[in-house]
């Protein structure tokens, strides 16, 4: 009888709390979005699964001695996992389109207005009772507008670890929603004629330029923004390994096995922050709302900047590629290409949009560095 009671008390059914049930449903929702809707599945599958695991009563996944506890503290709290992902992303990134047309960097800069406007918006939300975002919190939330998952996780783990789960959910969800969020905004701020603009073919970029470029970027980060050096540094290391041509086996491992292993653990570790106390509150709603605002403002400012540049530049610039400045590589570039094709079936903008797209990655890493420098303790 006592044995039976012990057995019953050791079931999940006897120990469930409502919050855990809801968070498991959130985890299932993430899995659904990932698997059935193809929302950033590489991160959302392990993350959704991690959310389920961490909320199992008695299993202790995220308590001292639990698997997710080790994963979180060894990999995310230290910043190691996002940095390794960044190295892998660097090894996957081809800066050719950007080097061929460096003006595109201004589009990547403009789109970061999504971040800083959202920072202001997050502070403004404090006017509503129930919200009490500090500058640190607001900065971590605002980086969602950077449309760059590892950057958001890295910054949140430094500035507002208790919001990490919600921020990661928002960042990856909106990144997956780029094909739905961006087109209406792009069409709102451009007219048919602008969307039809064809751009000049990009010049060939030499190996020398591609090798020097990551070093030049790193040098600038060293000079002007050391707080961005971890992100920018690991990104440039990956890119240098890719382009230098003498360490192909390291580059290949960084973009395949290593990033895959780290992605599984990063997803699980972020998922372990999706506990009821941390997620089920009004702040999460605020974060989700602010994230949507951030993406929209970033897209808008990118498009408007491209329109301005089109006016000033002698080479025509299609304003649609400004939207790719939010990063979300390579989704945003594909969206620009698609919307361009709708207006002009002979207009292939993909390569042109890759420039602002990778510029957006640099831009949001720079923005993250500024936030770390100014509000990081």
């Amino acid at each position: 009888m006592e044995q039976l009671n012990t057995l019953w008390m050791s079931t999940g059914l006897a120990n469930f709390e409502m919050g855990q049930v809801i968070m498991m449903l959130v985890g299932c929702g993430l899995l659904y979005l990932a698997i059935a809707r193809n929302f950033e599945p590489l991160l959302l599958v392990p993350m959704g699964f991690g959310a389920i695991l961490t909320n199992i009563p008695l299993a202790g996944f995220s308590e001292v001695g639990g698997l997710l506890h080790y994963v979180y503290y060894a990999g995310i709290d230290t910043g190691i996992f996002p940095l390794l992902i960044f190295m892998g992303v660097g090894a996957m990134t081809d800066f050719g389109a950007l080097i061929a047309n460096p003006k595109m960097l201004f589009l990547g800069a403009a789109a970061q207005f999504g971040i800083f406007a959202t920072l202001f918006g997050a502070i403004a939300l404090n006017a509503i009772p129930g919200f009490e975002f500090s500058l640190q919190d607001a900065s971590a939330i605002a980086i969602i507008g950077g449309a760059d998952g590892p950057t958001a996780i890295f910054l949140a783990s430094k500035l507002a670890p208790e919001l990490l789960g919600a921020i990661a959910v928002a960042a990856y969800s909106y990144m997956a929603l780029v094909p739905i969020i961006q087109p209406p905004i792009m069409k709102l701020f451009t007219n048919e004629e602008e969307r039809k603009i064809e751009m000049a073919q990009l010049r060939h970029v030499t190996k020398f330029e591609k090798v020097i470029f990551p070093l030049a970027v790193l040098l600038m980060a060293i000079f002007f923004l050391p707080s961005a050096a971890p992100l920018v540094g690991m990104f440039c290391l990956g890119n240098l390994m890719r382009e230098c041509g003498v360490v192909d086996r390291l580059s290949s491992t960084a973009q395949n096995e290593l990033i895959n292993i780290v992605t599984i653990f990063l997803g699980l570790g972020v998922g372990s922050k999706l506990s009821a106390e941390a997620f089920l509150n009004v702040e999460t709603l605020g974060i989700l709302a602010l994230g949507a605002v951030a993406f929209s403002i970033g897209t808008t400012s990118g498009v408007l900047m491209a329109k301005l540049m089109n006016k000033l530049s002698k080479d025509p610039i299609n304003p649609l590629i400004g939207a790719a400045g939010v990063s979300a590589v390579p989704m945003a570039a594909r969206v620009a290409n698609k919307v361009g094709l709708e207006a002009n079936p002979h207009n292939f903008l993909l390569m042109h949009a890759m420039g602002p797209n990778v510029a957006g990655v640099l831009g949001s890493a720079v923005a993250a560095g500024i936030l770390l420098a100014l509000v990081g303790s």
């Binding site: 800069a109 800083f116 923004l225």
Partner: protein, 87 residues
């Protein structure tokens, strides 16, 4: 906690400083690419890839006397062969 007004001012300053810095940083990168990287690049051209051209010269040669039907047949055979020998 700081007063809301103070926070607003800080957030506004942050927004301004941040955007200025982002533009300055990436703008300087534009300057560097245009003024340093690209000019330098002309002095370090890519090595000419000679090995790539040779096979294209070689291949057409033995193809001359072969009728298109034979080539079609061969393509089919290759498909078949690959299908069978796929593991």
């Amino acid at each position: 906690m700081e007063a809301l007004d103070q926070l607003f001012i800080e957030a506004g300053t942050l927004m301004l400083a941040g955007m200025v810095f982002v533009f300055a940083f990436l703008g300087l990168l534009v300057v560097i690419i245009n003024a340093v990287l690209t000019p330098l690049a002309s002095k370090f051209p890519d090595p000419v890839a000679q090995s790539v051209t040779r096979p294209t010269l070689k291949k057409p040669a033995p193809q001359q006397g072969v009728s298109p039907t034979v080539v079609a047949a061969i393509s089919a055979a290759v498909s078949q062969y690959r299908q069978k020998h796929k593991e």
